[in-house]
Amino acid sequence: MHLYVLKRLLAIVPILIGLTVIVFAIMALIPGDPATAILGSYATPENVEKLNRSLGLDKSLIEQYFIWLGNMLQGDLGRSYSLNRPVLDEVLERFSATLILAGAALLLCTVWGLLIGIWTAARQYGWTDKILTFIVLIGISIPSFWLGLLLILFFSVQLRVLPASGMFAIYGGGDLPDLLRHLILPAFTLSVVATGVIARLTRSAMLEVLRQDFVRTARAKGVPESGVLYRHAFKAALVSVIPVIGIQAGFVLGGAVYIETVFQWPGVGRMLVQAIATRDILLVQGGVVVVAGSYVLFNLLADLAQSWLDPRVKT
């Protein structure tokens, strides 16, 4: 088991390196002179050259990459020119808000996705199945950013029961109940598509497993139907669903970009959109690296969860 964990940990190192290479390459492809972009078109040539040197842009690309990587490993992601503060500080602050939102959404979509998947599989072709399957189809077809707007219209404007924006009330205490009230709508909105995907996959995995011989064995030894469904079929189905939950973590982290914009959640997604609009490239770079890196870690967790569940994986 420990050996397996170690192996998985080592396996993500090249992925993380590749990830930084891609981010660096994309940013290096930016047309034009970054120094001019930062200083504006009225900058003097001396200033541009000075900035170029201080940014290390007079060196070769490979050298630049290693300098950038080295700085990053020391926690230096550069300085955001639009906010005039270190990128790392801004990104971490924003990312913690995103984690609250994405974590809540991931929890919601996992729980509901699995439950709906089991229910629909257990009642295949029944009315529960048909209705839930249709709702799930609506869920994966609805644009999340539009759903967010509809929910704001209904719950915040019409009913006035939930706040439409922000993470805390401006004059509120900033306590947990306040956070939860602000979290409900965006977390739900963000979870809808992933719930649908997980539910569909769970349903088909359950149906596949329920045909297996070991399920017949469970029935033959007199296990009640609920035990057959939850203890036997569900556990086996979960093995193939967990990697997809890991992938959904990526969709939730990415989808947060829309939801944070709609609900003005102070997360890293909204920060990225603003940074792109102001062409604050270092901020974009830092945000992308942190979010993508955390996605890699999510997938590692999914891998480990799978190996914990399925003893055959470890060998």
Binding site: P143, R211, T217, R219, K235, V257, V288
Partner: protein, 623 residues
């Protein structure tokens, strides 16, 4: 085209297809429709509500007609989404074909790169690309296309790898074609359908994603407007003019939903498992749909009495009569062997006894199965559950597939115990270990903690037997328990079963295709052919003087050690398909004694109590 028909029969998919066609037709016809200029501002009439004069869907914040903007925006969104899909498909498929066709280093290098791209959350990568290229509709299109390339590359690579080693590719290479020619003329036509399907399932996503980027203000820039940027503009006036956000959102939703409905329909139509019913959930017990109405209980002196059992499989319009009227009985402590070729219905008979035939497609259509006189086919779920693994237990063929892979074998036994009696976990565990010892598993306390895949085949089958014995059953039904084992292990397991039978006075129904096994263990034997018993009697009698020609041939198939003088003869031909049984004797087509009489009318199982045979010209046994 059966696939097209299947889609048409799937109402939801057909509905999605029609809606999509309407939307596309509308988008194509926009220039010719009598609608207002989408860019004509009219501040006096700004933010008019829908269904007012002159503006069916109302106007936006600049007084522009929303209906006109919606239709033009739809056109733009569809074009951009489709273009992104085409670009992603072309580049992704090209990468996939190259990787899959050339394999080796090229493949691993390319796929490593693709994996790297997939390590990014989807939308994030698109954002990074837009950040570099700058906001704009064309740049958003590129971003969405690039992000979808890995999906195509992976799928198409998989298909190509399978194709690259097929005979027709080798043939093309031998005929002197170079790689480029082979890819274009042999590979591409074969992967094309996969590419088209992958596109049809992703184009909805791509429309959604480009709309999303536009919504964030990173896609289409004013005055040009696709559905996403309309929504983005409408959002700023969400509270004063909700219709400006609702209208474009509905359109995105309708497009994506109809694409998904159609895509699901296409996928289902092409999935052979769905057509065969292999993806439907089997019920807790086999469906019983009997024409006869036997009494629920009847006093019988046998432990198990099967009366005229009929089991069918109904697949689509076809009916496979797997078991066509089987009668037998087993007394306490007695062992009955049921012998037959694969497809003779012997396993289905065994599974029918306690409703374990997967249903759908299995249906019990007649007869009764009495355990202690009570008909199991009339039992409710709970009574049947108590019987299963309680008084009657099963041992199945391949214990690697029939034991749960994710639970320790001891825990699987504990569960079986605790489903039938209240016993503490520890006591149940001890009982399980004791039973593992009884089935001669060395170091049982340790092995109880093993997972099935950690045990050898013989060991697993011993676990399967122990699992059947946990609740002291009176009857064990063994469905080819030794078939998957090595010959030496097979002998050990048979010896074990023979001992257990004696020690515990177990009754057994032993299903096998091997007369050799029957002779070692069974008191009586029933020979099945095409879903019916053709001969039955005490094992020794049947072995010595088989009277049905089929029995005789079947016995002749058994190899006897040291018996080199006997001719090993296979039976010519195959058993008849059970959805199309011939009239008269089912064995007639393979029987060298068959005459016209044999091919006419039903032949009864006739005999004198102990011996019975279903043949008009039985051998060695006067009727």
């Amino acid at each position: 085209m059966t696939a097209l028909k299947l889609i048409a029969r799937n109402h939801l998919a057909a509905f999605g297809g029609i809606v999509l066609l309407l939307v596309v037709a509308m988008a194509l016809l926009v220039p010719f429709l009598p609608i207002a200029d989408p860019d004509l501002t009219d501040p006096a009439n700004r933010l008019k509500r829908p269904f007012t004069d002159g503006a069916v869907l109302g106007t936006d914040h600049l007084g522009r007609d929303l209906l006109a903007r919606l239709l033009w925006g739809t056109q733009l969104s569809l074009v951009v989404g489709a273009a992104a899909a085409v670009i992603a498909a072309v580049i992704g498929s090209a990468i996939g074909i190259v990787a899959g066709y050339f394999g080796g280093r090229t493949d691993s290098l390319i796929m490593r790169g693709i994996d790297m791209l997939m390590a990014f959350p989807y939308i994030l990568l698109a954002l990074a690309i837009v950040a570099v290229l700058g906001p704009g509709l064309i740049n958003a299109l590129y971003a969405v296309a690039v992000v979808n390339i890995p999906f195509f590359a992976r799928n198409i690579r998989g298909v190509t790898v399978a194709l690259a080693h097929r005979e027709f590719v080798d043939a093309a290479r031998l005929s002197g074609m170079n790689d480029r020619q082979i890819i274009v003329s042999e590979i591409l036509p074969n992967v094309m359908p996969v590419i088209v399907i992958a596109m049809s399932t992703t184009v909805g996503w791509m429309i959604l994603e480009t709309a999303g980027l536009s919504f964030l203000g990173l896609g289409s820039q004013p005055p040009q407007a696709d559905l996403g940027s309309m929504l983005g503009e409408g959002r700023k006036l969400l509270i004063t003019a909700p219709h400006a956000s609702i209208v474009p959102g509905v359109m995105i939703f309708v497009i994506v939903m109809s694409v998904n409905l159609l895509g699901d329909g296409i996928r289902d139509a092409l999935d052979p498992r769905l057509r065969s019913g292999a993806l439907s959930r089997p019920a807790a017990a086999t469906r019983v749909d009997r024409t006869n109405n036997p009494p629920e209980t009847r006093k019988v002196d046998a432990l198990l009495k099967v009366e005229d059992l009929h089991t069918e499989f109904r697949l689509g319009s076809r009916t496979y009569r797997a078991v066509g009227g089987v009668d037998f009985e087993v007394r306490a402590g007695e062992c009955l062997g049921i012998v037959g070729e694969s497809g003779s219905g012997k396993s289905v008979t065994a599974l029918s006894l306690l409703g374990l035939v997967a249903s759908p497609p299995g249906v019990v259509t007649g007869g009764a199965v009495r355990v202690d006189g009570t008909d199991t086919l009339s039992m409710n779920g709970e009574a049947l559950r108590r019987l299963r693994g309680g008084r009657v237990a099963y041992v199945f063929q391949d214990p690697l597939a029939t034991l749960h892979p994710l639970y320790r074998v001891g825990d699987q036994m504990v569960e079986a115990i605790r489903c039938h009696r209240s016993m503490s976990k520890q006591a149940a565990w001890d009982h399980a270990v004791a039973l593992l010892e009884q089935v001669r598993i060395p170091n049982a306390a340790f092995r109880a903690k093993a997972y099935p895949h950690e045990l050898s085949g013989g060991m697993r089958q011993r676990v399967g037997i122990a699992l059947a014995l946990v609740n002291d059953p009176a009857l064990v039904i063994l469905d080819e328990p030794t078939t998957a084992l090595d010959v030496t292990v097979q002998a050990q397991v048979l010896a074990l079963l023979s001992d257990l039978r004696r020690e515990r006075n177990l009754a057994m129904v032993f299903i096998t295709h091997d007369f050799g096994v029957v002779s070692q263990l069974c008191d009586r034997v029933a020979v099945m052919y095409a879903g019916r018993i053709v001969e039955t009697g005490p094992t020794d009698d049947v072995l010595k003087t088989p009277s049905h020609p089929y029995t005789k041939r079947l016995i002749a198939c058994v190899l006897e050690l040291g018996g080199g003088r006997r001719v090993l003869s296979a039976i010519p031909g195959l058993p008849p398909p059970v959805d199309d049984l011939p009239a008269g004797c089912a064995f007639a087509p393979r029987c060298d004694k068959a005459n016209d009489q044999c091919r006419r009318g039903d032949i009864v199982l006739g005999g004198n109590g102990m011996r019975a045979v279903r043949c008009l010209q039985p051998e060695g046994l006067p009727i």
